[in-house]
């Protein structure tokens, strides 16, 4: 008699720890991969399913191997059809017998595997230097609330639906002809009344018949339960994402010649981070891209990041465009409005005043949050680090920041500087509501 063990219910993912070790091992290569991917992906899809090629660097397992192109060997093969001893067979350029023709086997590039959302975000966050708490709260997906969703045959006793259960029980009792209480009582009463009068032959007969009837009814009552386990119904609950308001995110960027590849890359990470945050808080998020030189346009993501346009720099045009779009498409009563602006700080001197006026006058009242980053050279970061002087736009925005608590600004020279801009956004966890 063999021993049987059913292992199917054993915990899954036995090799999860090995997977984690593998990912850590290939971290640098994967990170590079993720970085490339972020560059080429749309902001809203950054945390969607992500496949990467199996990394090769650092994950080879060397051992002493024979070189294929040296020495003399003998091989025994099967299925000789035409060869005689001494025949010569020309070698093919690649491989030998037994190595399948090219195209038959999946090439190395086909070996891609899927990173989970969590693994992907881990890699993405790595050099953003987010505090752990923030990382956690970003990875967490929307909050769920259970909602009634019909009935189930199993569940917790607290969830028993009495109405349903009793209805089923009633139906079953009728179908199985369970004696009703009234019927039994009627028989009992008749029996009692017969016993009360002096017995005669007829009544005696009747009494015997009635007691038999009574016994039969009671037995049947006992056999057919009043409420049987098959009757019981439970309320079924289904987790549903919390109904959240919608948010729109405005990405504003200066695309004049001074914004190079590095600047755009940093800006994109900045936008991605804000978007991740919004996505977590709101059920529906939309993104509007506005790029500007001396005039501003709403564009699609592709154009936003990849096409250049020459011209001067007038920031206020972007703010005006944003204002116009809000008025047209995103009524404040329905949308939470977030704005993220990236620029290298260049602006016409006279225009900065106009920006202040625009923000103070209207925009800041409409926005939940306005984040501004000024992308500077890494060498400049030491000079500008703490001082308040800077470009005209920086100075103008400093004024706004001192008046509005929902305005944040920062100078950024490397990826790690991005997070402080959002610090406020992440530290306080206000209930999602309408700003007034």
């Amino acid at each position: 008699m063999p021993i049987f063990i059913d292992r199917r219910l054993n915990p899954k993912d036995r090799s999860l720890a090995n997977r984690q070790r593998f990912l850590r091992r290939a971290r640098d290569e994967l990170k590079q991969n993720v970085r490339d991917e972020i560059r080429s992906r749309r902001i809203a899809e950054v945390d969607a399913e992500h496949t990467v090629p199996i990394p090769k660097r650092g994950t080879s397992e060397p051992n002493f191997d024979e070189a294929r192109n040296s020495g003399r060997r003998e091989r025994v093969l099967v299925g000789n059809k035409q060869f005689a001893e001494g025949d010569l067979i020309p070698k093919r350029a690649q491989g030998g017998f037994g190595s399948p023709a090219p195209g038959d086997t999946p090439s190395e590039d086909d070996f891609r595997f899927v990173l989970s959302r969590e693994e992907f975000l881990d890699l993405f966050f790595e050099d953003l230097e987010l505090p752990d708490l923030v990382k956690l709260s970003l990875k967490e997906i929307v909050a769920f609330k259970s909602r009634r969703a019909g009935f189930a045959q199993s569940g917790a006793p607290t969830n028993i639906n009495v109405g349903r259960t009793m209805r089923n029980s009633y139906g079953r009792r009728i179908a199985l002809r369970r004696p009703k209480r009234e019927d039994v009582e009627a028989v009992e009463q008749e029996l009692a009344s017969l016993r009360a009068v002096p017995p005669s032959h007829n009544t005696l007969q009747r009494i015997i018949a009635l007691s038999e009837e009574l016994e039969r009814l009671k037995r049947r009552q006992k056999k057919i339960a009043y409420v049987d386990p098959v009757d019981i119904r439970f309320n079924r609950f289904e987790p549903q994402p919390l109904p959240n308001a919608s948010a729109v995110m405005f990405c504003l960027m200066d695309v004049s010649g001074s914004m190079g590849e590095r600047e755009k890359d940093l800006a994109k990470r900045f936008f991605v981070l804000l978007h991740l945050f919004l996505q977590r808080r709101y059920e529906r998020t939309e993104i509007v891209f506005i790029r500007h030189t001396h005039e501003a346009h709403e564009v699609d993501e592709e154009t936003f990041f990849y096409s250049t346009q020459s011209g001067g720099t007038v920031v206020s045009t972007a703010l005006e465009e944003m204002h116009r779009i809000i008025a047209k498409r995103y009524p404040v009563s329905e949308w939470n409005i977030y704005a993220a602006q990236a620029s290298d700080g260049d602006n016409f001197v006279s225009d900065s005043e106009r920006c202040i006026a625009l923000l103070d006058g209207e925009l800041m009242r409409l926005c939940q949050y306005f984040a501004y980053i000024e992308i500077i050279d890494e060498r400049e970061s030491e000079i500008f680090g703490a001082t308040e002087n800077g470009t005209s736009l920086w100075q103008a925005y400093s004024n706004v920041a001192s008046q509005w608590s929902n305005f944040q600004m920062s100078r950024i020279a490397k990826a790690a500087d991005i997070y402080p801009v959002f610090r406020k956004l992440f530290t306080k966890q206000p209930t999602v509501g309408k700003s007034t």
Partner: protein, 510 residues
């Protein structure tokens, strides 16, 4: 109970534990009665496909320590499986006592019966009776050892950090091939015995001490050689098991690191017999399932439908495409093993004149069961093929021998299935299953522990087959990590003794 004997064991394709148990008992009964198999108690475990992938990733063992390379293998296997490029095995069997057999839950009942006969009886019998397994592995202790290894390495990770443990494991894995005793039995002395021997040796030296020896004049010129010879003797050099040598003698390792190397080494040694008996092991299991299923059918215990399903699976397993077929990927051990064994049965029961010439001992002796049982017990692939590959089988398979010389533009057909070729083909095929001879022969030849501690390895180059440069350098780097000092590898021609190449770690950029 003749009435119940004739009853079908199962019908339909669904299985349950009661049916599995009945089938196992029926199969075991026939196996013991008719084939005289002798097996360990069996433990059948039902697993899902995901768990089968897990098992694949950890070299088929139910327990394994953690390492990134297993994660990598898992991803490869999973990809191949998901893409439909490769099906999963229906079963997995572990050489342990009790013998553990994994059955996939997706299998139909007929398949479960087939797998039970194949693994729980065929492989199981082979594990219990083959001399390699009996001598070299300890079936009763492997699971508890793996459990110990897993815990030990997890504890090391906690104490010394993942990176430190990984470094040692990486290096040890690189030397797995050179981490087995191929010819010499692994030393099994306990430390108590060792101490006793050392004590006895000292006593003997004291007893036989004679001051006169000191007065003999020393021959100056040979002292260097003598020194070296003595040194080598003391370290038991040359040593073929690099991991064993490093574990015992490396000046750079801490005790826990030695223990990790030992774990890798013990597991590699455990698998060594399996690699030497692939054809026999699979052949034995396939022969057993094929024979048992037909016997059960003859006794009316399984239906025609079930037998057909089994046969269709069976023929998939033993499919052998020719060398020019795009599906060809070497010789299928299931097919070769099964054919060899069925051929033995044929030679024993109905030999031709040719068989009588080639196999005078067994031809026509009549008791094929005995011959097979003996062969399963006494041989490994190499000796089995050398002993039993018959001309008839060579003709059936149309074997031919191809000489491949790297400098020449052509392969040369050296032998085919004719009178002149039989011996040569048989010998070459047997040789190709000699695991020890087909891996690079690398040994520790010298080290001066009191001097510069330069570790010298030697690669015996046979037939001019050299090592691949990149992997050699990478592996040497791993050796250096374990040794801590300079390591060099000399390639020496096995025939002439001439040094072909010498590579030291100082030449390799790290």
């Amino acid at each position: 109970m003749p009435a119940s004997k004739a009853r079908l064991l199962f019908s339909g394709s669904d299985w349950d534990f009661r049916k599995l148990s009945q089938v196992y008992e029926a199969i075991e009964e026939v196996a013991v009665e008719e084939l005289q198999l002798d097996v360990y108690p069996t433990q059948l475990e039902i697993i899902s496909s995901e768990q089968m992938l897990d098992a694949y990733a950890s070299v088929g063992m139910p327990l394994m320590y953690r390492h990134w390379s297993f994660g990598k293998h898992f991803l490869y296997q999973e990809l191949l499986y998901r893409k439909g490029g490769r099906g999963l095995a229906y079963e997995l069997v572990i050489n342990s006592n009790p013998c553990i057999v994994y059955l996939m839950e997706e299998n139909t009942m007929a398949l479960q019966a087939l797998v039970t006969a194949h693994a729980a009886l065929g492989h199981n019998h082979f594990f219990k009776n083959n001399h390699l397994f009996r001598q070299w592995t300890d079936a009763a202790m492997i699971l508890s050892y793996l459990d110990f290894a897993k815990d030990y390495i997890a504890r090391c990770e906690e104490r010394h950090g993942l990176a430190a443990v990984e470094e040692i494991l990486d290096a040890a894995h690189a030397l797995k091939e050179q981490g087995v005793f191929r010819y010499q039995r692994p030393p099994k002395l306990s430390s108590e015995q060792q101490r006793k021997e050392v004590r006895e040796r000292l006593e003997y030296e004291e007893r036989s001490y004679n001051d006169l020896w000191r007065t003999l004049p020393n021959s100056r010129e040979s002292s260097e050689d003598q020194n070296q010879a003595e040194r080598k003797k003391k370290l038991n050099l040359p040593e073929e098991n690099l991991l064993y040598f490093l574990e015992k003698n490396s000046p750079a390792l801490e005790p826990w690191q030695r223990e990790i190397i030992r774990i890798v080494r013990v597991i590699a040694q455990y698998f060594y017999p399996q690699r030497q008996t692939q054809v026999m092991n699979e052949g034995c299991a396939t022969f057993v399932h094929y024979t048992l299923m037909n016997m059960l059918f003859d006794r009316g215990r399984i239906s025609e439908g079930a037998l057909l399903e089994m046969l269709s699976n069976h023929s998939n397993v033993v499919f052998q495409p020719g060398f020019d077929d795009p599906r060809f990927s070497g010789i299928n051990p299931y097919a070769l093993g099964l054919d060899l064994m069925q051929d033995i049965k044929r030679i024993v029961t109905e030999p031709t004149q040719e068989d009588r010439d080639w196999f005078p001992d067994i031809a026509g002796s009549g008791d094929w069961r005995r011959v097979l049982l003996d062969a399963w017990a006494d041989h490994r692939d190499e000796s089995f093929i050398r002993q039993f590959l018959s001309p008839a089988l060579i003709r059936k398979w149309r074997f031919f021998l191809l000489a491949d010389c790297a400098d020449e533009p052509n392969y040369k057909v050296a032998s085919i299935h004719n009178e002149r070729g039989y011996e040569k083909i048989r010998s070459a095929l047997a040789h190709s299953y000699e695991v020890g001879a087909n891996r690079p022969d690398i040994q520790v030849v010298d080290v001066d522990l009191l001097g510069d501690r330069h570790l010298r390895l030697q690669h015996k180059v046979k037939n001019g087959v050299l090592l691949e440069d990149k992997s050699r350098d990478d592996t040497l780097r791993h050796v250096k990590r374990l040794w801590g000092y300079e390591v060099s590898l000399a390639s020496v021609d096995a025939g002439t003794g001439a040094t072909i190449a010498d590579r030291a770690t100082s030449q390799i950029a790290s």
